[in-house]
């Protein structure tokens, strides 16, 4: 999966699509399997990136990889309660309005109002928080100021990010990352969470979940949620029923900015442990190394030996994700330092400085049309903390290449930049004119089929990868998932 952040307009259509399809039931009302955050901001749940509080993800001393939230010794004292869980207040108390009051109110001097009522208790509440409470930097003095990613910035950079007229923000849509090394799966004591063998979707078996809630602190992205009505955890299922019928997940499908790309990748799972032990700033490269080239004959042969179907290899070769991630090295994982190896990659936003006001005068900050990434409004250290585990080189590479593509396209379409200059910019950004055109085409003009290259799921064959259906032929009945019950 790739989300192209430069294209996100923060319309929350994805969130609403997901909510309507999956989480409009009682107990799931506070869940947003897909949510869109404004950065800088504290997100949803509040300050989810603050792992000192929430204890998500993995930690390593270079030799061992351990969950931050739990261990064999910690599980005994915390057996009935995982302390590092977001409370209802950290998410938000879901509410609706008493709409009938608008119609049933007795006649009076005032307009009737629909007061907010909690969807949990049914009582009147004063709404104090919501899933996008700090949207578009609202309450930035409270929320944006406490963005964990600003920790490494100096006072000047912080002031710059908060300065009136120079405010910079961008949107960060988030869904479950369907990680390669999912800490939620590792933490689950009842084995309810699993990463589906054939496609890597991380799922939560509702029949096996025993409400230990270990997954909730363990997931550093806070993308498993506890359903207070059923007493089971739930999470994004990447709309697998849609994927299995060849459709993109609802949030991908409905994306107005067309920022989302989905396809499959071939990767070497045996390397996960070894690579997860590397220092933070090497993790982006480590994850790229784990993703294999689907055109490499050796990889194809190995995949076939492991029972990967030809159709899956074919879509992997056409994968837009592979191009963004490995060929162009534009896409970066979010918070790779949590060591879960998220499989959702973000193309970082460019946020160039165009102009600023001084008094009544608007003036260009830079001589060049597209400016300089070093002078971008969001300090590069800030983005580095989010996307590259502090490795600014990887981030600069991705930003510079995006900038070069713009310069190149300006030369092609408008022509007010000389060819030499455009080519020099491309060369500096390690990019060829052909690649630049392709980046442009996949970023700006991509059709539905370009963005969503969905492998043939072929469930009947996928099952064969894990177990032999002939073993089950004589022991399964027909029609029902569970043994029939007599009432």
């Amino acid at each position: 999966m790739v989300f192209h952040l430069d294209k996100c307009i923060g319309c929350h259509t994805c969130s609403v699509a997901c909510k309507n399809v999956w989480t409009d039931r009682e107990g799931t009302d506070y869940m947003w399997w897909n949510n869109v955050e404004t950065k800088p901001g504290t997100g949803y749940p509040t300050k989810w990136e603050d792992q000192d509080s929430y204890k998500g993800g993995w930690v390593t001393d270079g030799e061992d990889l351990e969950l931050r939230s739990t261990s064999k010794s910690k599980i005994i004292p915390n057996i009935f309660h995982n302390p590092a869980q977001p409370s209802m207040d950290d998410y938000y108390e879901p509410w609706t309005y008493k709409y009938e009051d608008l119609f049933n109110a007795p006649e009076g001097d005032d307009q009737p109002t629909a007061r907010p009522v909690s969807m949990v208790t049914g009582e009147h509440i004063d709404v104090e928080a919501g899933p996008n409470w700090d949207d578009d930097l609202s309450g930035s003095e409270v929320y944006a100021k406490n963005d964990v990613n600003m920790d490494g910035l100096n006072q000047e950079q912080r002031a710059q990010m908060m300065a009136i007229e120079r405010l910079a923000f961008f949107y960060l849509p988030r869904i479950c990352n369907h990680c390669l090394n999912p800490s939620c799966v590792a933490a689950c004591p009842s084995g309810a969470l699993y990463k589906r063998g054939e496609d890597g979707i991380v799922l939560l078996n509702q029949d096996r979940c025993r409400a230990w809630r270990s997954c909730i602190p363990a997931c550093p992205y806070k993308k498993t949620y506890f359903n207070w009505s059923t007493g089971k955890s739930e999470k994004c299922i990447l709309c697998f029923p849609r994927l299995e019928t060849g459709q993109a997940p609802a949030c991908f499908h409905s994306c107005v900015g067309r920022i989302r790309y989905i396809s499959n990748l071939l990767y070497d799972a045996d390397k996960i442990r070894e690579l997860a032990l590397l220092p933070d700033d090497q993790l982006v490269e480590a994850q790229r190394e784990m993703i294999l080239d689907p055109h490499d004959p050796a990889v194809i042969e190995a995949a076939k030996k492991n029972g990967v179907h030809d159709g899956i290899i074919r879509t992997a070769q056409k994968s837009p994700v592979y191009k963004f991630l490995k060929e162009w090295k534009l896409a970066l994982p979010l918070h790779v330092e949590y060591r879960t190896f998220p499989m959702l990659f973000y193309v970082p936003p460019l946020l160039p400085v165009m102009s600023s006001t001084q008094g009544d005068v608007v003036r260009n900050e830079v001589d060049e049309l597209f400016g300089d990434i070093e002078k971008a409004r969001a300090p590069i250290e800030y983005l580095g903390k989010m996307f590259t585990g502090g490795n600014l080189g990887k981030l600069r590479y991705a930003l510079r290449k995006q900038l070069a593509v713009r310069i190149w396209r300006r030369f092609v379409t408008v022509g007010d930049i000389s060819e030499d200059k455009a080519k020099a910019a491309l060369a500096e950004a390690d990019c060829t004119p052909e690649a630049a055109d392709e980046i442009y085409r996949l970023s700006a003009l991509a059709t539905f089929d370009d963005r969503f290259v969905i492998p043939p799921f072929q469930r009947e064959m996928a099952i064969e990868m894990l177990e032999d259906p002939h073993d089950h032929r004589s022991i399964t009945g027909f029609g029902s998932r569970m043994a029939p019950k007599r009432s």
């Binding site: 504290t42 749940p45 509040t46 300050k47 603050d50 509080s53 929430y54 302390p83 590092a84 869980q85 977001p86 409370s87 207040d89 950290d90 104090e128 928080a129 003095e141 409270v142 929320y143 100021k145 406490n146």
Partner: protein
């Protein structure tokens, strides 16, 4: 000494009973099985005798009744030995009619509450200590007890003239030993529970003892001294204490120590330790608060509400 003495006395009753031609149900058991026919004969005769005797006042007393009196009554009453916790019962059957006595034995509290003047008189003589209702008392047994009082009063020297207690002067060492026993720092020889688990006593360390039973600070005064208190402690007759101390009687040296400690408490001038309840509650609250502070320090890095903290700190 008291214990051993008591044991000997109880054994002697066998002989006494024979002399008095008492009904001997207990000795029957001593016959070997092969003499079973004799036992049956004997029982038959006895059965006849007793049925004849029911109507007229008996001049024999069964061994059970004697044992019952020794166990339940003798710690407060003597027959011809003077007052202990309760009045000397010698001649009680002459002072009051048998019916009244039986009624009082069965339900002392009830008779007192009915406003019976004689009952009130003996209550005031006993400093307001009400005779406890005896465990296992019924009409038949009460009648037997009245009979026992009558028979024993008629003897020149009753078997219940009172136990012999060491009356040597109480020393500081006795007080110390008594306190230690009271608090349970020293165990009772026969495994009785420490007094402090149910009772409080003025001047003792800590919270002064338990609150389940009455405060014993004034017990020495209420029971009118050493002799009565010693007798009481020999086999505590109250309904609560009797089952607890059954088979765990106190040794005479232990009783001496306890009496010394209780006398000392009574004479110390400290009132009953009513404040101990308050100090107990206050200490409890203090301790709980202290623990909370300790836990708060220990788990100071625990998870707290993130959003609220963030909003409040801004």
């Amino acid at each position: 000494m008291i214990g051993n003495d008591l044991g000997r006395r109880l054994k002697k009753w066998g002989g006494t009973a024979r002399r008095l031609k008492w009904k001997r149900t207990l000795t029957v058991r001593r016959y070997p099985v092969r003499k079973l026919h004799k036992i049956i004969q004997c029982s038959y005769v006895l059965l006849l005798t007793s049925s004849v005797l029911v109507a007229a006042p008996q001049d024999t007393v069964s061994e059970e009744t004697l044992e019952f009196f020794q166990g339940q009554c003798a710690s407060c009453h003597t027959i011809g030995g003077g007052r202990l916790g309760g009045p000397d019962l010698k001649g009680a059957t002459d002072r009051r009619e048998a019916d009244w006595l039986a009624r009082f034995i069965r339900d002392p509290q009830g008779v007192i509450e009915s406003g019976d003047p004689y009952a009130l008189k003996i209550l005031s003589e006993a400093n307001g200590v009400v005779m406890p209702t005896l465990a296992g008392i019924d009409a038949k047994l009460a009648e037997k007890l009245v009979n026992l009082i009558r028979v024993e009063s008629a003897l020149e020297k009753s078997h219940f003239e009172g136990m012999k207690f060491d009356d040597r002067a109480l020393t500081d060492a006795d007080i110390e030993r008594g306190r230690s026993l009271f608090l349970g720092l020293t165990s009772f020889e026969n495994g009785a529970p420490a007094c402090a688990s149910c009772h409080a006593l003025a001047g003792l360390a800590g919270f002064g003892g338990g609150t389940l039973g009455p405060d014993l600070t004034s017990a020495y005064g209420r029971l009118e001294g050493r002799k009565a208190l010693s007798a009481w402690l020999t086999s505590p007759p109250s309904a609560v204490m009797q089952p607890v101390f059954k088979g765990h009687s106190l040794e005479s040296e232990e009783i001496l120590g306890l009496v010394a400690a209780m006398k000392d408490a009574a004479e110390s001038g400290i009132g009953e330790t009513e404040s101990s309840t308050l100090s107990f509650i206050l200490s409890g609250i203090g301790l709980a608060a202290g623990l909370m502070v300790l836990f708060d320090g220990f788990w100071r890095k625990r998870f707290r509400s993130v959003r609220r903290t963030l909003v409040e700190n801004s």
